[in-house]
């Protein structure tokens, strides 16, 4: 059981801090000019942050319970192929979840 007063304080402080992080550059973009190197690095943000979220989520933090399950990595691989071939978000999610459930059912 979580202490109720603490819960609200955490909600308020974490909410405010997170908002300030999000708003930071959106707020100051008119007031500062970024060096060219920084601007060229921005291009690599999506290609870097997302894999850094995906890889541990697929390989390390399964909710499987059991030891290392093969279902998640295989399902993720199928999803990568689907994303590459179809470029469709829906097709990627459905093929990944479908593969996961199928493997869970047969393994």
């Amino acid at each position: 059981m979580t202490d109720t007063a603490g819960f609200w304080v955490v909600g308020a402080l974490l909410g405010l801090g997170t908002f300030l992080i999000r708003f930071s550059f959106i707020l100051i973009v008119d007031k500062v000019t970024f060096p060219e190197a920084v601007i060229r690095m921005l291009r690599f943000i999506p290609a870097s942050v997302l894999p850094a979220i995906i890889v541990p989520a697929v390989l390390l933090h399964g909710t499987d319970g059991g030891p290392v399950s093969l279902a998640r990595p295989v399902a993720a691989l199928v999803a990568v192929l689907a994303a590459w071939k179809t470029r469709s978000i829906l097709a990627t999610i459905l093929s990944g979840m479908g593969t996961l459930w199928l493997l869970r059912a047969v393994l």
């Binding site: 979580t2 109720t4 603490g6 819960f7 609200w8 304080v9 955490v10 909600g11 308020a12 402080l13 974490l14 909410g15 801090g17 997170t18 908002f19 992080i21 708003f23 930071s24 550059f25 959106i26 707020l27 100051i28 008119d30 920084v38 060229r40 690095m41 921005l42 690599f44 943000i45 999506p46 290609a47 870097s48 942050v49 997302l50 894999p51 850094a52 979220i53 995906i54 890889v55 541990p56 697929v58 390390l60 399964g62 909710t63 499987d64 399902a75 993720a76 999803a79 990568v80 994303a83 470029r87 469709s88 978000i89 829906l90 990627t92 999610i93 990944g96 979840m97 459930w101 869970r104």
Partner: protein, 231 residues
């Protein structure tokens, strides 16, 4: 002439496939909040105030273990440091919006809203849309579906079989967005390096492995691009 309404609707429409992944994500966060003994409104208020699932889950977990307030808040903020990178990356596209408008855009900035919008802005016809309103359409649709998920989770979350592993829809959504964003060798190198470092550094506290992976990817990608353009 860029049509504001069309851009907004186009953003909302483009996020429909992603909503499938958002509802379960919100559901998990709502279910965990309610599981800690919070009322439906408590769980929803927590979700609305923070609006960032991973940090919410970490904060709830720490509170259950009676961690001090400072540790709970700081841990949540460190997990959300990646929003600095998103904010820096997307800010140049949003400068035409008024200041209060930009505060709203900042509030709804999420992994998904960022990823979907930046992919659209970088497409060849990216200049033909009103970017702030496209992003607003994406962000509000995602925020709303996350909230719906949180309400569902707080009310019925306990009845969903864990074996369904609905949370797996979250990394799948990111796969769908990042694969088309890998267009050349520098971006491919950035992605592989970021994923590898994040995997190896996963044991670091405060989810710093994510930041280590992301920063490595960005720096290596940038270095590779400079090398290629010099040759």
């Amino acid at each position: 002439m860029k049509d504001i309404r069309q851009s907004f609707l186009s953003g909302a429409r483009d996020s429909i496939p992603i909503l499938l992944g958002m509802v379960p994500f919100g559901l998990i966060c709502g279910a965990v909040s309610a599981g800690g003994g919070m009322s439906l409104w408590g769980a929803l208020g927590f979700t609305w105030a923070i609006n960032a699932g991973a940090s919410q889950l970490a904060a709830l977990q720490l509170m259950e273990h009676h961690a001090s307030l400072a540790v709970v808040v700081l841990t949540g903020l460190v997990i959300n440091l990646r929003f600095f990178m998103y904010s820096a990356s997307i800010a140049p596209h949003l400068r035409t919006m008024s200041l209060p408008g930009r505060a709203l855009l900042g509030f709804i900035l999420s992994d998904q809203a960022y990823a979907l919008s930046i992919a659209r802005f970088h497409r060849e016809d990216g200049a033909e849309i009103d970017k702030p309103f496209y992003y607003l359409g994406v962000g509000l649709a995602i925020w709303a579906s996350y909230s719906v998920g949180a309400v569902l989770g707080a009310s019925v979350g306990a009845f969903i079989p864990p074996a369904w592993d609905l949370g797996f829809a979250v990394p799948l959504t990111f796969i769908a967005v990042v694969v088309p964003a890998i267009k050349d060798r520098p971006t491919a190198l950035a992605a592989v390096a970021a994923g590898t470092v994040a995997f190896l550094a996963d044991g670091l506290p405060y989810n710093l492995g994510l930041m280590a992976g992301a920063v490595t990817g960005i720096l290596l990608g940038y270095a590779a691009e400079r090398r290629l353009s010099r040759d």
